[in-house]
Point group: C2
Chain length 288, copies 2
């Protein structure tokens, strides 16, 4: 790339002038965008017109190899770099390339995006990443999965309605979006109430939409007393409309939370969620 | 549509079986989706196969007339119905129809979406709408503006970078998305840090990306003491990188908040924001 010494790169990096991301293995990695930003800011003091193209080609080859070999840890590294650098185009391109090679959207979400987001969350908690990097990763992931979702084939609409949301206090919308996308690909009308929806209001929406399915995604919840009180009303509304209740997310690993949310199915991931939905709502029963 | 009496409709509506939305004028309105949901749930006890098509045609004619006549209050009513009903397709179709007729994306955002979202927020505060309706309206709006944005022509990329976010405690991402979309259409690389970004971390991202422009969108903020302390660091970082600072949003109407956020420009809406950006960053100066 540039004819500069490793120590120069380390110095620029340590000074903050040239941003780097750390790979899951702890190595310093510079994204093409960071190098270009640095170059534009005059950091290297010279212009290497060919770097962009050569770098992009190298990236594409790495990605092709990782996709072809189903090298999940390498794919995670590549996605991690795109996510932390705020590079929506690279994140979307990775998912699209994987999909073209036969990796389903759900497989990408479970084996690439979810582990990377967990790692980023963990690194942020350990003080190794800044909040803005965690925010960028979320924005990139919402954009990239949305991009792939719009390209996916969809089952014909069968008229069933699913109502999905996160309970009050939970702001983790990525898992929720993945659930909505999974259902839409199956032909459902999936209505997202979004993050942070009080259960009493969620219950009211159940009355309004008479869904066949309600999905509650929760990563972190607080105020169990309020959830317990509101959930009773929610549960009655769902039962009254004969809606199945599916819960999913890290919050339900806590037995205290799990016990509040009486449910028909607890999904561990998108794969078992999809299996449940297909089993309980076979195509032959669909409304027309 | 159906041969039923007005009193039947009112009874179904009052019982909650048939959902209605209230127009800005306070009238009961039933969306096509609500009627279909109600019909599917067996509410009317009979099947009227033609209702869907005829209803959609009537809606399309209403929309065409409102667009052609630049009837903003009628367009707001139509968008209000789509938003509160969670009808993303109708919301997106309205914006697309308006765009086809020469109403710019910014005009739609300022004259249709923003007033409707304000009204919905106001009605929610007055207890006339449920939280889930406000949430649905947000989801519909994010989806609909994103849909239109992907169809918009874009100015060629000129290499300038804008960093955009909401400060800590502010969760209002719609205005932020509109700012990002406005900049992207102008050829900027607009990086969104998303809602609820602490200013100390925003400052760190400024160091990383050396943006020419930073945009702070804020609707409601708390903890002015923390903002005051963190903003000093943020301001120094922006000045160090010679970034212009633009603020916008209802939070800055409060003089106490306004005084904390030293800035180069306070945008009242997207139109004056765009004028400022074009004036301060004319195309001839663009990096290549």
């Amino acid at each position: 790339m540039w004819a500069v010494s490793e120590s120069s790169v380390k110095r620029w990096s340590d000074s903050g002038a040239l941003a780097c991301v750390r790979t899951p293995g702890g190595h310093r990695r510079f994204t093409m965008q960071a190098l270009l930003d640095f170059q534009r800011a005059g950091g290297a003091g010279r212009d290497d017109g060919g770097a962009d193209h050569r770098g992009a080609t190298a990236d594409a080859t790495q990605l092709d190899l990782a996709v072809a070999g189903r090298d999940w840890s390498r794919l995670q590294e590549l996605y991690y770099e795109a996510a932390v650098a705020g590079d929506e185009a690279a994140g979307a391109a990775l998912l699209e390339r994987a999909f073209q090679d036969g990796i389903s959207a759900i497989e990408s979400k479970e084996r690439i995006l979810t582990p990377v987001l967990h790692l980023i969350g963990e690194r942020w908690r350990r003080g190794e990443l800044n909040i803005w990097e965690e925010h960028l990763a979320s924005q990139v992931t919402l954009a990239a999965t949305g991009h792939l979702h719009r390209r996916l084939p969809r089952a014909p609409a069968h008229g069933r309605v699913a109502l999905c949301g996160c309970p009050e206090g939970d702001l983790h919308e990525i898992a929720l979006q993945m659930v909505v996308e999974t259902l839409e690909a199956e032909g459902w009308r999936a209505i997202s109430l979004g993050p942070n929806t009080p259960l009493f209001s969620f219950a009211d929406a159940v009355q309004r939409f008479s869904p066949q399915l309600v999905c509650i995604s929760a990563t972190i919840v607080h105020d169990l007393e309020r959830l317990r009180r509101d959930y009773k009303h929610f549960y009655r509304a769902a039962r009254h409309h004969a809606a199945r209740i599916v819960i999913g997310g890290a919050a339900f690993a806590d037995p205290q939370v799990h016990d509040i949310f009486l449910h028909d199915f607890r999904a561990i991931g998108l794969t078992d969620f999809l299996e449940y939905v297909r089993r309980e709502f076979p195509p032959s029963d669909a409304a027309t």
